[in-house]
């Protein structure tokens, strides 16, 4: 076997185990982080209930998917969950707006400190957490159907003659495509429409925005609608890609916050960047490079251990490490966000 095949093998290896998972995981984080960052920009508090909102949206999707499946409705090669998604988004947005009306609007009217909002969001987190568990239980649920792989590892090996396989799951492609569509739609909305411009103005300077006759309640409502929709989308994509487990969604909160802060809080574009940064570092730091080094290094050299920077259990330590690093070196984030 000559060296160029080795290099190709190494490349495929990295693509399969680092590149593709990072891109899909990064897209999921990015969607979540955009929601967090928007709420932060407009309402000016870190929403601790965001992870649970994702769980709720996913749960709604699963219920509707089951209902569709029981009626025999499906989308062929695509997962049925995609069909259920719009309805679930509708339900989740209604919930988010209802929560805002019943909980957060009071503190807005009384001009409370941001910390009060955060504490209230912890209360909301508790409620949603319990609600999701009551409705669907705590078990792991796999609700993916349709075609699983676009490229199978075995078929790829046969096709190229390489010894490393490359598998591409349909959900990974779906995640990326849907994330791109959602983000493009969001940016079009923020840049081109009246309400979107009002939102940006509100985020920049609340008093000036109020003076120029922007309706704050409308802006807040639209923010919640967008945040809830993106949360549902992110949650469903994550659930399709892996599986749905209420516990996991709570733990997603940390990487999502990290992504939002790393990118510069209040900056949707930054949140997307941050999502990918966090995902790439998490997966790279916990990937065992042993095989990779074997391919690219001279043939007689093989590393002894797994050459893994960190064991997989410390995944979220990575996102936190990046978070701290950014806070210390550049507190405003990659794109200059709001300084807190």
């Amino acid at each position: 076997m000559d060296y160029s095949t080795d290099l190709l093998n190494a490349l495929v290896l990295i693509t399969n185990y680092v590149l593709i998972p990072s891109i899909s995981y990064g897209s999921q984080l990015a969607l979540g982080a955009v929601g967090v960052t928007l709420v932060f920009g407009i309402l000016r508090f870190a929403n601790f209930a965001h992870g649970e909102m994702m769980a709720f949206g996913t749960m709604a999707t699963i219920f509707i998917t089951w209902w569709f499946q029981s009626m025999g409705v499906s989308m062929g090669v695509f997962p049925t969950a995609l069909l259920a998604l719009p309805f679930a988004i509708l339900i989740t947005t209604l919930l988010a707006v209802a929560i805002d009306r019943s909980v957060f609007s009071f503190y807005r009217a009384s001009k409370s400190k941001p910390v009060t909002f955060v504490v209230a969001s912890v209360g909301v987190m508790f409620m949603l957490n319990g609600l999701v568990r009551i409705l669907i239980g705590t078990d792991e649920i796999i609700f993916r159907d349709g075609q699983k792989f676009l490229i199978k590892a075995g078929a790829f090996k046969k096709m190229t003659g390489l010894s490393e396989g490359l598998a591409l799951k349909q959900t990974q492609v779906l995640t990326f495509v849907l994330a791109v569509i959602a983000v493009l739609a969001l940016f079009w909305f923020l840049q081109r429409t009246r309400t979107g411009k009002a939102m940006r103005a509100f985020s920049d300077n609340e008093d000036l925005a109020l003076l120029s006759g922007i309706n704050p309640e409308l802006v807040v409502m639209v923010t919640w609608i967008i945040a809830a929709s993106l949360a549902t989308l992110a949650g469903v994509l994550y659930g399709l890609d892996k599986s749905f487990k209420p516990m996991v969604y709570f733990h997603l909160l940390l990487p999502i916050f990290a992504a939002a802060i790393v990118g510069g809080i209040g900056q949707p574009l930054g949140a997307i960047l941050g999502g990918y940064v966090v995902a790439f570092s998490e997966i790279t730091a916990t990937y065992a490079f042993k095989k990779f080094i074997k391919y690219i290094a001279p043939s007689d050299f093989a590393p002894e251990g797994l050459t893994q920077f960190l064991t997989t259990e410390y995944k979220f330590a990575v996102s936190f490490f990046i978070l701290v690093l950014v806070l210390l070196v550049r507190p405003t984030g990659i794109l200059r966000g709001r300084v807190l």
């Binding site: 910390v115 955060v118 209230a120 239980g137 979220f316 936190f320």
Partner: protein
């Protein structure tokens, strides 16, 4: 309320709840210092609790000499390389001029240091974890009395808090909350995975107790006499039968042990309450509240906000660390898997919010109420479900589902209570009172 449980369920249950209430009270007093006095949003309470628990385990468990002999040297080597790396890093940072050269040297130092640490560390952990893995497989502790660990747990938590404070304080509240949340998660995953230190999810059980064991009690002569005296005569004045007596012995041994714990815990609660109240009413407490209410003004008066925040954060964390050590003492085991943020971080928040932030007595009352509701919500929910289930057929899937998920009712209940209190009584049950000597 507890009396009702005592008569309704059993005195053992009531006292078990009472003991946990006391521990929760210590936790919520700790958080109350951070949030109520100084307005710090600490979302990493669990980290302090866990490190308190870890300390309790490390202090009381007897050392595993074999593990020390096989892994001690390489572990020390790993530690020394860590220290050397830090020193080298600091030297590079201080001595070299700012620029790309310094960045590269820094990276090199960190990477080389990391390689060395990793090498010795893996050797050490592998050796240690291989020592009788079914029973030990970790370094063990110091073998000191566990009561001593309450103090040590507080100190350890204070040390951790200092480290967290170095990183996270000085950020705005939301960032601080996120940072502390992250640190506590990392802390727990370290405890779960570093088997050489804490046996990870395999747990450490059978920690020594500061109070007598039930079995020993039932053998002790003085205890027999005590029970005899308590239960000695039936209603009609005659002596009770041996069977009833034996049952009474078992019951009262359990109650007695729990009462011993309660006595210890009450002492701690009272000491901390006394100190905390004094601190709150002292000039220091006044300064803390001034900083909380208006940072700009306090800073204009010459107060160093960040270092004051760090101070109160460390003290509060130390108190929570003590409670963590108390909890591990009560359980008699250290189970890293049982630390979950909802229970150990956010539930404490509910306690402080309900009780009244800034009021120590309020924090205690909040802890009692919250813990009581948290525990009793489960049987109540099950009862409620069983009432509904009367109308459902035996085979109805909904019925089974309800039975399974009933315990989660308490999450919703907690959230609801928290949101309602925050909305309609934001100062809590016992509002903060302004000291009269302004």
């Amino acid at each position: 309320m507890l009396t009702i449980v005592g008569f309704g369920q059993s005195w053992n249950v009531a006292l078990a709840i009472f003991n946990l209430c006391l521990i929760s009270a210590v936790m919520s007093m700790g958080l109350n210092m951070q949030w109520g006095y100084a307005g710090l949003f600490n979302a990493g309470i669990m980290a302090s609790t866990a490190i308190g628990g870890l300390t309790a385990m490390l202090i009381s468990y007897s050392p595993v000499t074999k593990a020390w002999s096989v892994g001690g040297t390489s572990l020390s080597a790993a530690l020394i390389s860590l220290l050397l790396t830090i020193v080298a890093g600091i030297l590079v940072w201080k001595k070299m001029a700012k620029g790309s050269k310094r960045s590269w040297s820094m990276t090199a130092v960190v990477l080389i240091g990391y390689a060395f640490i990793r090498f010795f560390y893996e050797e050490a952990t592998f050796a240690i974890e291989a020592v009788d893995p079914a029973k030990t497989g970790f370094l063990g502790g110091l073998g000191l009395p566990i009561l001593f660990s309450w103090l040590a747990g507080g100190l350890a938590a204070a040390g951790l808090a200092w480290l967290i404070g170095r990183i996270a304080l000085g950020l705005r509240s939301d960032y601080f909350a996120i940072a502390t949340l992250g640190i506590s998660e990392i802390m727990i995953s370290i405890l779960k995975n570093e088997d050489w230190l804490s046996r990870g999810v395999k747990n450490v059980t059978g920690l020594a107790r500061p109070v007598p064991y039930e079995v020993d009690l039932q053998q002790a002569e003085w205890f027999k006499n005590l029970v005899q005296w308590f239960y000695g005569t039936a209603d009609d004045g005659s002596a009770v039968s041996a069977d009833i007596m034996r049952e009474a012995m078992q019951l009262s041994a359990g109650v007695f042990v729990k009462l011993c714990y309660s006595a210890l815990f009450v002492t701690v609660v009272l000491i901390i309450l006394g100190l905390a109240t004094r601190a709150l009413n002292s000039p220091w407490g006044r300064m803390m509240r001034a900083i909380r209410d208006n940072e700009t003004a306090a800073s204009a008066m010459g107060k160093d906000i960040t270092s004051r925040h760090r101070q109160v954060f460390i003290i509060g964390s130390a108190v929570i660390g003590i409670s963590g050590a108390m909890l591990t003492t009560l359980d008699g085991q250290f189970t890293p898997g049982s630390y979950i943020p909802l229970r150990f971080t956010f539930l404490i928040w509910v306690m402080v919010i309900i009780g009244g932030s800034g009021n120590n007595l309020g924090a205690i009352i909040g802890a009692f109420i919250t813990w009581f509701v948290w525990i009793e919500a489960e049987p109540s929910a099950l009862w409620l479900v069983s009432q509904i289930n009367v109308f459902l057929a035996e085979s109805n899937p909904l019925r089974q589902h309800l039975q399974e998920v009933a315990p989660h009712m308490r999450m919703v209940l907690m959230g609801l209570i928290m949101v309602l209190v925050l909305r309609f009584r934001p100062k809590g049950i016992l509002p903060e009172e302004a000291p009269d000597h302004y």
